[in-house]
């Protein structure tokens, strides 16, 4: 079997299936919106997923991936899922699905050595992608905590600067006449 021809012929179908597995991690009522709304400004989540997945697909089928390109393609989708309500594992689990997609599609032709070799490449690429995604996810969460700390720290710093000038509501019951 000519694996390259297979990939060219089936690329769109495979990418769409992979995208569908990501979109399915969102509430059922939103799937239609994320899938069908084409305007990237009206639907940044769906368009980010589509764009990232297309670029990641181009890398995962390579014999040797370009780590910089994977990183660039991975960043937007992981940055997005890092602030949506997913557990860390669920946020990056979508990467694994491509292994199963290919296994399902090509599993019966495993005796073909070129297919076996291709699937091995895909699986090792997926492993590498997971590690890259994990690094990005970690950085995103770190950024969120930094933003939280900075906001708290900034207000604290200002308070310290204006020490003795701020007058908070005291801890006492002023009674109705005070108002």
């Amino acid at each position: 079997m000519d694996i390259q021809k297979y990939l060219t012929d089936n690329r769109q179908k495979l990418v769409e299936k992979w995208i569908a597995s990501v979109v399915a991690t969102y509430p059922a009522d939103s799937v239609k919106f994320f899938k069908n709304t084409k305007d990237p400004f009206a639907n940044p989540v769906g368009s980010t997923i589509k764009r990232s997945m297309g670029l990641l697909f181009a890398q995962v089928i390579k014999e040797k991936m370009d780590p910089a390109a994977v990183n660039e393609a991975m960043d937007p989708i992981v940055r997005l899922r890092a602030v949506q309500e997913f557990t860390p594992s669920r946020a990056i689990s979508f990467i694994f699905t491509i292994k199963h997609l290919f296994r399902k599609e090509l599993g019966k032709q495993l005796p073909d050595k070129s297919i076996a070799r291709f699937l091995e490449d895909v699986e090792s690429n997926v492993d590498e992608m997971i590690l890259i995604a994990l690094d990005i996810y970690g950085k995103c969460r770190e950024k969120i905590y930094l933003l939280r700390i900075n906001q708290a720290k900034e207000s604290l710093k200002k308070l310290l600067i204006k020490k003795d000038l701020i007058c908070e509501i005291p801890d006492f019951d002023p009674g109705p006449q005070a108002l």
């Binding site: 009522d29 602030v83 949506q84 995103c140 969120i144 701020i166 509501i169």
Partner: protein, 535 residues
């Protein structure tokens, strides 16, 4: 120990079918990080609002008062009788779905309860049960549901996931204003003492001291003096603004964020320079030292009490009219509610610019003019000498703040000003600006750090459009006319488009303004070199 699924189990668990449970059956997630911290009791007590002992939304039992159902029923009934709009909004929605995908929180989360239609349904379903014959008889068949503590939890979660930006109402063929529905939902929750601290603390501070942070009069003056020292260092011109001066022509009121929070402080410097340059007869007030009004996010009564200070101070000082700074929700309060709440303002005159003679008829009722209109008018009449090349290192785009754009139609004036004070201006895509603008994701009191994740996903549509002009045109500065934006957009940019900084438009005016007698400028108002080469 958390149950960790194996990848295969996880994939097999993906359910592609529409859930059999109705939306009412989906429980509300109130784990830490998904809610704003509740208010401290002392703040409620200070405002004489229904107070309750310390609690957490993560608690299983919220320990509602024994008669909570009666309180909600009576509160709802009172508001339906008082506000015709609420009654109409409860009755007329045909669930066409035009609003469904217009909310930035839905777009960023995919949570169906963030669809404006469903957010309203949280209230509407209870309305049907308690106030309509069909709902009373047919129950769930008529879309009615009984009020339970779980519904209260759901309200608390989702009415504090709405930033009252009103983007959805632009698309509603009936003009249903979901912001007003959220406001009613929050008012009802407030009757049970369920408020958030990030709103109520500023409200209490505002009521007592005059502004959100509780800056006392002498400190307020000190801060302004500090800015004047900076202006002198940059321009060589000493400014001495007056405070609480009776007989001034104009009273200037701006959000206190401009006085204590960067980058708003640079915008404040821009105002001061502009007023000095044109010789405006104005005064600042340490009593009405807050333009913002978090009462809008609490209840109409609280909003009215806080807003009352503006007219009271204008009357006491005997000014002719009021000029207001760059703020968002402040202008919804002023433009839509102030005259009704605290008018009539027969002690003032319809505002007339002393420099151009322009009479601001649009503000004839409120007697309060937005500074973007005021400055645009000055520029239009060639009253300002401007050197836009001083802002040449900035490639600027403009975020229409929700309230000035949708609540008062201030769309062209800020752009006119920007196009005159900088040489590189690029608008974001059409469906993300002007009346269709996307919220910063942190409005209506949600700009608090404990819900940073929610703010990031709610702000995604705005950040996504900024990223587009950053990638396409190299935009590195996001201008806005709202103090909450100036606080909320920097972290949003830091997460999504870290190359873009945030400014108020009068900071750029201050940079470009060629003041009489000034020394040669070498830095901008942030004490940074005027051009990138010098950095």
């Amino acid at each position: 120990m958390v149950d960790i699924l194996k990848p295969e189990e996880m994939f097999n668990s993906i359910d592609y079918t529409i859930p059999s449970d109705r939306w009412e059956a989906v429980p509300t997630d109130l784990t830490a990080g998904n809610f704003c911290y509740p208010t401290k009791k002392k703040n409620l007590e200070y405002l004489s609002l229904p107070a309750r002992d310390e609690w957490s939304p993560a608690d299983e039992d919220w320990k509602l008062p024994d008669n909570w159902e009666e309180i909600i029923y009576e509160g709802f009934k009172e508001r339906l009788e008082k506000y015709r709009s609420l009654k109409v909004f409860m009755d007329i929605c045909v669930r066409c779905g035009a609003c469904a995908d217009k909310c930035h929180f839905f777009i960023g989360t995919g949570d169906p309860k963030n669809m404006p239609v469903l957010r309203a349904e949280l209230l509407r379903s209870v309305y049907r049960k308690d106030f309509t014959t069909a709902g009373k008889i047919l129950g769930s068949i008529a879309g009615a549901r009984k009020m339970t503590p779980a519904v209260i939890k759901e309200w608390f979660s989702y009415f504090y996931q709405c930033s009252e930006c009103r983007r959805c109402s632009v698309y509603c063929p009936y003009g249903i204003d979901t912001a007003e529905i959220t406001m009613m939902g929050r008012e009802l929750l407030s009757l049970l003492g369920l408020n958030i601290n990030w709103i109520l603390e500023p409200v209490a501070n505002c009521f007592r001291t005059g502004n959100h942070l509780g800056i006392q009069p002498h400190a307020f003056k000190d801060m302004i003096d500090f800015f004047c020292d900076d202006i002198e260092e940059i321009t060589g011109i000493k400014i001495n603004p007056s405070f609480n001066r009776k007989g001034a022509e104009v009273l200037f009121i701006t959000p206190s964020g401009d006085v204590f929070a960067d980058p708003g402080t640079y915008t404040m410097m821009g105002y001061l320079m502009l007023f000095e340059h044109i010789g405006l007869d104005y005064t600042l007030s340490t009593y009405a030292s807050e333009g913002g009004n978090f009462g809008l996010f609490t209840s109409s009564d609280v909003m009215k009490r806080l807003n009352g200070k503006m007219y009271a101070e204008a009357k006491r000082l005997g000014v002719k009219w009021i000029l207001g700074g760059e703020c968002g929700h402040m202008w919804r309060v002023i433009n839509q509610y102030m005259e009704t709440m605290n008018g009539p303002t027969d002690f003032m005159e319809a505002p007339v610019s002393p420099l151009t003679g322009t009479r601001f008829d649009n503000a004839a009722s409120t007697k309060m003019v937005h500074i973007a209109e005021f400055t645009a008018d000055l520029i239009k009449h060639n009253k300002l000498k401007l050197d836009p090349s001083r802002n040449d290192k900035f490639k600027v785009t403009f975020h229409d703040s929700c309230n000035p754009s949708r609540a008062m139609g201030l769309l062209d004036e800020p752009r006119y000003v920007l196009n005159n004070v900088c040489n590189h201006f690029y608008d974001m895509p059409e469906n993300t600006i002007r009346e269709q603008t996307f919220c910063c994701g942190s409005g209506a009191g949600l700009n608090t750090e404990e819900i940073m994740d929610l703010r990031m996903r709610g702000g995604l549509p705005r950040a996504n459009a900024v990223k587009h002009v950053h990638d396409k045109h190299g935009v590195n500065m996001l201008a806005c006319i709202c103090a909450i934006d100036r606080a909320a957009l920097p972290p949003l940019m830091d997460y999504w488009v870290p190359e873009v900084d945030v400014t108020g438009i009068h900071e750029l005016v201050g940079n470009a303004l060629v003041m009489e007698g000034e020394i040669e400028r070498t830095t901008d108002l942030r004490f940074e070199p005027l051009s990138e080469e010098e950095e």
